[in-house]
C-alpha cells in the first residue's frame, strides 16, 4: 500500500508512505482528523479497498435480522442467517429495528458491513469510537477473524483504540510517520542493572525542546516512550526529547515509583488508574492525567506489576 505525499502551503502534511501489509497483522495509524481525511481520499479504488467511514449510518427502519439478510443477499454470499446471527452475538436483538437499538449497538451493527466486504483490504475510520466495552469485544473478535483472510487498516486518533486490535501501530503527525513499538515479545528480557541507590537523593530528568533544556521532577512525568530509537518524555499531554536510554532512565527512576511496563515504555505508577484487559493476552494501562493516555503493558510484566502493587 502506497500513499503519495501531500503538501499544504509548503508544509508537508503527509510524507510518502509505503506500508507492507500482511495477513493476520492488522495495522493501525494514529493521526489527526485532517491527515485521516487525506489518507482516506487515497483509497479510491473500490475493487481494492473497502472503506468504512465514521459517518456511515444504517437503514433505520429495518430490523437487525432484515438488515443482515439484505447484506447477505446483496453481496451474494452463501452464509445462512441463523449461524451468522449467532456469530455476531445478535440473537436477542434480531427483531429490533435499527433505530430502536442503543447507539453503541447501532454502531456495532453498522460496522458489520465490513464483514461482507469482498475487497482484499478493509480500511476503518474510528471503528471503536462509539462502542461500549461489550460491543468492542465482539467487534474485535470479528476483526481478528477477518484478518486471517484480509488486510486490515485502522485509522484513529486514539492510541487505546489502535491497541485493541492492531498488531502494528504507526503514528502520523507533524514529525512524520513512525512505527510505535507495541509488540509484546518475551525474548527481550532486560538485565536489570544493579545500581547503587544510596547516594541518589536528587534526580532531575533533563529534556530538550526547541533548543531549550527543560528539567522535570520525576513525579511530574506521566510516562516515557521510545519511538524509532528516540526517547520521548510525556508530561501533561506534551512530549519532550530525552538523550538518555530507556534502560538508564529505568534505573534512575526506579525509586520514584516508575515501572518498565513494556520494552518501549516506562510508566509512572502513581498516575496509573486502570489496568485494561482486552483479551487474555493483551493488556494496557490507562493513566490518570489531563489528557486521556493509554500505555501498553507486556504480558510478561503483568505479574511483576501485580507483585509490586500487592494485588
Amino acid at each position: 500500500m502506497q500513499f503519495e505525499p501531500i503538501y499544504d502551503n509548503g508544509e508537508l502534511l503527509l510524507p510518502k508512505i509505503e506500508l507492507n501489509m500482511t495477513l493476520n497483522e492488522s495495522v493501525g495509524i494514529i493521526t489527526d482528523l485532517k491527515r485521516k481525511q487525506i489518507l482516506m481520499n487515497q483509497f479510491v479504488n473500490h475493487s481494492q479497498y473497502y472503506l468504512f467511514r465514521a459517518g456511515q449510518a444504517e437503514y433505520m427502519h429495518l430490523t437487525v435480522e432484515e438488515l443482515i439478510t439484505f447484506l447477505i443477499r446483496v453481496t451474494e454470499r452463501s452464509d445462512r442467517l441463523a449461524p451468522l446471527m449467532d456469530y455476531f452475538s445478535l440473537k436477542e436483538e434480531r427483531k429490533i429495528r435499527i433505530k430502536n437499538l442503543t447507539s453503541s449497538k447501532r454502531m456495532y451493527v453498522t460496522l458489520l458491513r465490513v464483514f461482507f466486504a469482498h475487497q482484499p483490504t478493509i480500511v476503518l475510520e474510528e471503528p471503536y469510537f462509539y462502542l461500549e466495552e461489550e460491543d468492542r469485544r465482539h467487534f474485535k473478535r470479528i476483526l481478528d477473524d477477518l484478518s486471517k483472510e484480509k488486510q486490515i487498516l485502522i485509522l484513529t486518533s486514539n492510541l487505546e483504540d489502535a491497541l485493541i486490535s492492531c498488531d502494528v501501530v504507526y503514528r502520523l503527525n507533524e514529525s512524520g510517520f513512525h512505527p510505535l513499538d507495541i509488540r509484546d515479545s518475551e525474548e527481550d528480557k532486560q538485565e536489570v542493572q544493579e545500581q547503587d541507590q544510596a547516594n541518589i537523593t536528587l534526580q532531575k530528568i533533563s529534556t530538550k525542546r526547541n533548543g531549550k533544556l527543560i528539567l522535570f521532577n520525576p513525579p511530574e512525568v506521566d510516562y516515557i516512550e521510545s519511538v524509532d530509537g528516540s526517547i520521548l518524555v510525556h508530561v501533561g499531554g506534551e512530549n519532550y526529547d530525552c538523550a538518555l536510554t530507556l534502560t538508564e532512565l529505568e534505573a534512575r527512576l526506579l525509586n520514584f515509583g516508575f515501572f518498565r511496563c513494556h520494552r518501549s515504555y516506562i510508566v509512572n505508577l502513581q498516575k496509573v488508574r486502570e489496568i485494561i484487559t482486552w483479551t487474555k493476552n493483551s493488556y494496557s494501562l490507562r493513566l490518570n492525567t489531563a489528557k486521556d493516555a493509554v500505555v501498553p503493558l507486556s504480558r510478561s510484566k503483568l505479574h511483576e506489576l501485580k507483585v509490586l502493587l500487592n494485588i
Binding site: 473500490h46 473497502y50 472503506l51 468504512f52 467511514r53 459517518g55 456511515q56 449510518a57 444504517e58 437503514y59 433505520m60 427502519h61 429495518l62 432484515e66 439484505f70 443477499r73 446483496v74 453481496t75 451474494e76 429495528r97 458491513r113 461482507f116 466486504a117 469482498h118 475487497q119
Partner: protein
Amino acid sequence: MSISLKRAWAIFVKDYKEFSRNYAVSFSVIVPILFAFLFRSAGPSLPGAIGFLLNTSFVLLTCLVQACLIAEEKERNTLRSLMMTPATTMDVLIGKSTLVFVVSAAALTIAIYILGYKPTSMWAFVAAIILSIILYTAAGTICGLFSKTLLEASLSIMPVALVFTGAPWGVLLADNFPLFKVLEYAPSVQLVHLLTLHNAGFTTGDLLKPLLIMLAWAALLTIASVMLYQRRLKDE
C-alpha cells in the same frame, strides 16, 4: 454492466420495508386516492379531472417517492457503502424503480377505479400510464441525486411539479406568450390530449403522436438519470 436480478430483488425488498415503515414518505400513496374521492363527488362530468389527477399524482407519488428513496440513502451514506458491494448502478436503480413503479401503478389503478373513468382506447391509456410512470421515476432519480437529505429531496421535486404539472395551464397562455408554445410538447400536456380524445372520430395517428412524444421523454430522462447517477457517485 452486469445486472443481477437477485441483487435487484434484495434491494427491492429492503426498499419496500423502508418505504412502508417510513410514514412520512409512504403517506403520499394516499394522494391519488384522495383526489379520486374528491372528483367523484363532483360528478363524472367534470372536465379534465382525470388529467389533473394523473399529472398531480405522478409528481407527488412517483417522483417524490423515488427522490426520497435515493436521497435517504445518500443522507445515511448507505449508497456509498452499496457501491462497494457487488451491486451495480443498474441493480440499485432497477430495484428502486420497480418498487416505485409497482406502488404507483397500484395506487393509480385504485384511484381510477374509484373515479370511474372509462378510457376511449384501453391499450393507449395503459401505455400512456406506463410511460408516464417510467419518465417520472427517472425525473425523481435526478431530483434525488441533486439533494443531500430527505428534506431537500421533498423540495427538489418543486421544479418538476412546476414544469410538468403546470404545463397544461401554461399552454392556455400560449396565445399571449408565444414562448409557452414549447409546453405543448410536455408529457403532461400530451397525456391530457390523449385523455380528451372522444369516441367519435380519432385515428390511430392521434393516439400514436402523444405516445411517441412520451416515449421520447421516458427514454431521454432514463438515460440522463443513469448517466447522472454514475457521475454523481464517482465524486463522492
